[in-house]
């Protein structure tokens, strides 16, 4: 099997989400996952700006400025949706009620530490949004990302060098080269794409 593209990673994540799960898809790449959920999966999407049972992106006349997702993209309201305020929405997350949260990342450590909110550049304007809440809120946190930076550096690392979003919070990492399980005794490679496992271990120092 060859290296996955973004759609391939999203498809792989979608296949691992149990039917009927309550799921928050982070902004950016993770939103692609929604496109690969089976229509009868019964997966219910949460958006942290106050909606459960969020629908797909709105098109044309469906666009309503009062109905947006966490990325401020207009979405739709399918039957069975509900609205709530921000304290209730984050209580829902912090209280561990979501089954899965899918996030992008700059780096994930072998212990499951997540860095996805700040590049650490001194002149960057800090902005965390709901990243830290999402990182610690769901029963399982899946990261989806390319395994290497454009410069070729691994993003699954012994220890994050970027500012942390959460400690030991990531349970799985879905990448273009493989799927990794973060377990108490270390990282397991569940599958690889376009690379042999020994080579992958070598590149990551696993």
């Amino acid at each position: 099997m060859s290296r996955l593209d973004r759609a391939g990673i999203a498809r792989r994540v979608a296949a691992d989400i149990p039917p009927g799960s309550y799921v928050n898809l982070g902004i950016g790449q993770p939103t692609l996952v929604a496109d690969y959920l089976a229509p009868d999966s019964g997966v219910i999407l949460h958006t942290e700006n106050g909606m459960l049972g969020m629908g797909r992106a709105a098109v044309g006349d469906e666009v309503d400025p009062d109905l947006i997702n966490a990325g401020k993209v207009p979405v739709t309201e399918p039957p069975g949706a509900s609205y709530f305020h921000h304290a209730d929405s984050f209580a829902m997350m912090r209280g561990g009620h979501l089954d899965v949260c899918v996030l992008g990342a700059f780096q994930v450590s072998f212990a499951g530490d997540l860095a996805n909110w700040h590049t650490g550049e001194p002149d960057a304007i800090p902005a965390v949004g709901g990243a830290m809440d999402l990182a610690i809120g769901a029963k399982s946190v899946y990261v989806m990302m390319t395994l290497f930076t454009d410069a070729g550096a691994p993003k699954l690392v012994p220890s994050c060098t970027y500012p942390l979003t959460g400690l030991r919070c990531v349970s799985r990492v879905y990448t273009d080269y493989g799927v990794f399980l973060i377990e108490p005794d270390g990282v397991t490679i569940r599958e690889t794409y376009g690379i042999e496992e020994p080579d992958l271990r070598g590149k990551l120092g696993l």
């Binding site: 109905l67 401020k72 609205y83 912090r94 809440d133 809120g137």
Partner: protein, 231 residues
């Protein structure tokens, strides 16, 4: 007791220099544009603004920032595609910024409204945003001690009100409105219309009138912010 007032200017009358102003909205959804404009006209300065974002485009909160009335902003996500007004102020050190995780912002506002002195929160443990904060391990999990955020004034946007100040919101424009309404000494709500008591289903009231001091009808079209990453 809730007063129904005739104009946005009347609604924000009395907000003083140095006030902490809670401003509702997530991006432009639920952002009380008319009340913010009135606050700008009022000219109150040295304000601390608490809001999820730091303004979009050149309207509303962004315009208040541009007018130089805001000394400090407490928010979760200042940086957006269209936050150029804030970005420029921040880079030229003309505004102070406190970044708070979005859920902590909401919960700290709720704590203020609910009379909670402080709470132990798992969010941010081990991150730069928890540096210097007190922590405690409870049942094997580490928590950070977080304190309430009280406002002198809350400016929020709801959908409809009755003359007793009971409010309902519209879709995801609800966001921070209900918690901010509980957390300020003076809560001002702009709504599309004000109706008589009994017109809102008592089971569906989101903000009971006890939290609302002034209501003003400002029929204004909602506008879309540009998409911004990560809330």
């Amino acid at each position: 007791m809730t007063l129904v007032v005739e104009s946005a200017d009347e609604a924000v009358a009395g907000v003083s220099d140095g006030a902490t102003v809670l401003v509702g909205g997530f991006g432009t959804a639920g952002q009380p544009m008319e009340l913010i404009d009135a606050l700008r006209r009022l000219g109150a300065k040295d304000l601390t603004v608490v809001s999820n974002n730091a303004g979009n485009g050149s309207q509303g909160l962004a315009a208040l920032l541009a007018a130089g009335q805001v000394r400090r902003i407490v928010c979760s996500f200042p940086r957006q595609k269209d936050s150029y007004v804030f970005d420029e102020l921040y880079r030229s050190k003309r505004i102070e910024l406190e970044v708070v995780p979005q859920g902590n912002l909401a919960e700290r506002l709720r704590a203020a409204g609910a009379g909670i002195g402080a709470f132990y929160c798992p969010t941010g443990v081990g991150t730069p945003l928890a540096e210097g904060k007190e922590t405690r391990t409870i049942d094997g999990r580490e928590y950070v001690l977080e304190f309430p955020i009280h406002g002198d004034v809350a400016l929020i946007k709801a959908h409809q009100a009755d003359t007793l100040g009971n409010l309902v919101y519209r879709k995801t424009a609800r966001n921070f409105g209900p918690v901010m309404a509980t957390a300020a000494k003076l809560t001002v709500a702009q709504v599309t219309s004000v109706s008589s008591p009994g017109s809102i289903d008592p089971e569906a009231v989101v903000t009971p009138g006890i939290f609302v001091d002034r209501v003003v009808a400002c029929p204004s079209p909602a506008v879309l912010a540009e998409e911004g990453a990560a809330g």
